[in-house]
Symmetry: C2
Subunit: 278 residues, 2 copies
């Protein structure tokens, strides 16, 4: 009975954000608990952990790059998620969402399970040029078990010297720029090379997040989170990649982002060689 | 030339968050602008608008329910997005992300293009029981062009009397509860019935958001946003719905959420009939 009750309590605490109310507001005496017959698969799941996860925040970040993965990491019972910025002043994203940090570069734990950075455009190039940000990423990234990003956040990893010799991906508009930092750009939704895990643009953070849950715990844990997140996508249109978007849409968006692409190329070339590429 | 320059400026401002840096940091004289041949499809796109979009925030909301749609609405050039809460005090989500509101129930515009609410668990039931929140939703919802939600947020719409006689959906754990509020529960990713648009659980907010962009502007605008968001999902596992999840995963998560489901049933029955269902 002890094991069964404990397992039930663990299940109730699993996916903590979503489950919190069920666990906190509807406590039931052990005698009336209805234990599901969960089968052997559920007995071996690593429900409990103690990961230290640091997610970088900076002005102009794309908030969806942050929240996609955070919504998956948030289901890791026992994990601690630190939203880290230079100071505790609220940080405003590119689309105007202002989030309060929970840690600074100084107070963030030194030894991390996961170091993560979101992407963006101008804000990301500013962060990738900022000595304090790069020093923080270099320091924590040197010891973290996993060094990760979504979208153009991989430019920050690259600028911090954390991708040299690694396969990596990024938003389609700047993926090729990673080569300036010594990385091997790969066209894929999520790329893992040893302990570097990078996701493609914006919404790839959901796929990245689920892969990280499976890596940090196990596949069943990730599947449980996928079901509670109802991640059963049905994009109403088929324009999510350069390969599938209508040509006119592709052309317009490549043009739209051409300035950002050029700025990223210039920054990376300057950081890598001291001069912009010809 | 004026039309072409104007069109280019509009394109640069499109998807404002992502494009901001390109437009702001790399201004080029008109004479050096390289205009793409975008074809007739792009000339008819409704690049500019003036939507007023109010997104409810409350303690314990699921932040991904909010940010998925916000990341799509954020691409609407000319639109104003209001993150609305009872007060301007920062609001903490179920998974510990704290966001600063931009408007209160009092300062939120009275006439909205879109009224939206995210879901959650305990926080959602609290919001669905809160007279001030329900009064706000009822008032703005009575005049809004679109009344919308993602995940269990539809419980709040239901409690405010905004779904009576409408087809609607919700998170799988509480979809059936909508019937207590006079709605017709539908199992679908996004359900539209006249001006009510409701999404399924959590990540359905991305599909919901893209459908809303197509509704508010046009399909091409939504496709442009989909490409910039790189919304080309590749879930690493196939457990995102009750139909596809492994049976053990389904059983465990149904058990995990059973307490929440029961609380939602009780609340809805009490609000609908004055007494809990037998």
């Amino acid at each position: 009975m002890t094991d069964m009750n404990r397992r039930n309590a663990v299940l109730l605490a699993l996916l903590a954000p979503f489950a919190m109310s069920a666990a906190a507001q509807a406590p039931q005496p052990a005698s009336t608990m209805t234990m599901p017959d969960m089968g052997p698969e559920m007995n071996n799941v690593h429900w409990e952990g103690n990961e230290q996860i640091a997610m970088l925040m900076y002005p102009g970040m794309t908030v969806m790059d942050l929240i996609g993965p955070q919504s998956m990491f948030g289901a890791l019972m026992g994990a601690k998620i630190h939203l880290v910025a230079k100071t505790l002043e609220p940080v405003t994203s590119d689309a105007g969402v202002t989030i309060v940090p929970t840690a600074t570069f100084d107070t963030c734990p030194r030894d991390l399970t996961v170091l993560f950075t979101p992407g963006g455009t101008d804000g990301t190039l500013a962060a990738a040029s900022d000595p304090a940000t790069l020093a923080f990423m270099r320091d924590r990234g040197g010891r973290a078990k996993y060094v990760t990003s979504v979208c153009s956040g991989s430019l920050i990893l690259g600028a911090a010297g954390l991708l040299a010799g690694y396969k990596a991906t990024s938003h389609w508009s700047v993926r090729h720029v990673l080569a300036e930092y010594g990385a091997i750009p790969i066209e894929a939704r999520v790329v893992r090379d040893r302990n570097r895990v990078t996701g493609a643009g914006v919404t790839a953070g959901l796929d990245f997040g689920l892969m990280m849950l499976a890596e940090l715990r196990d596949r069943t844990y990730a599947e449980c989170t996928q079901l509670v997140s109802e991640y059963d996508p049905e994009p109403p249109f088929n324009a999510g990649s350069l390969k599938t978007a209508p040509p006119a849409v592709r052309k317009a968006m490549e043009e739209l982002l051409a300035g950002f692409t050029r700025q990223a190329e210039t920054l990376a070339a300057t950081q890598a060689h001291g001069t912009p590429a010809a």
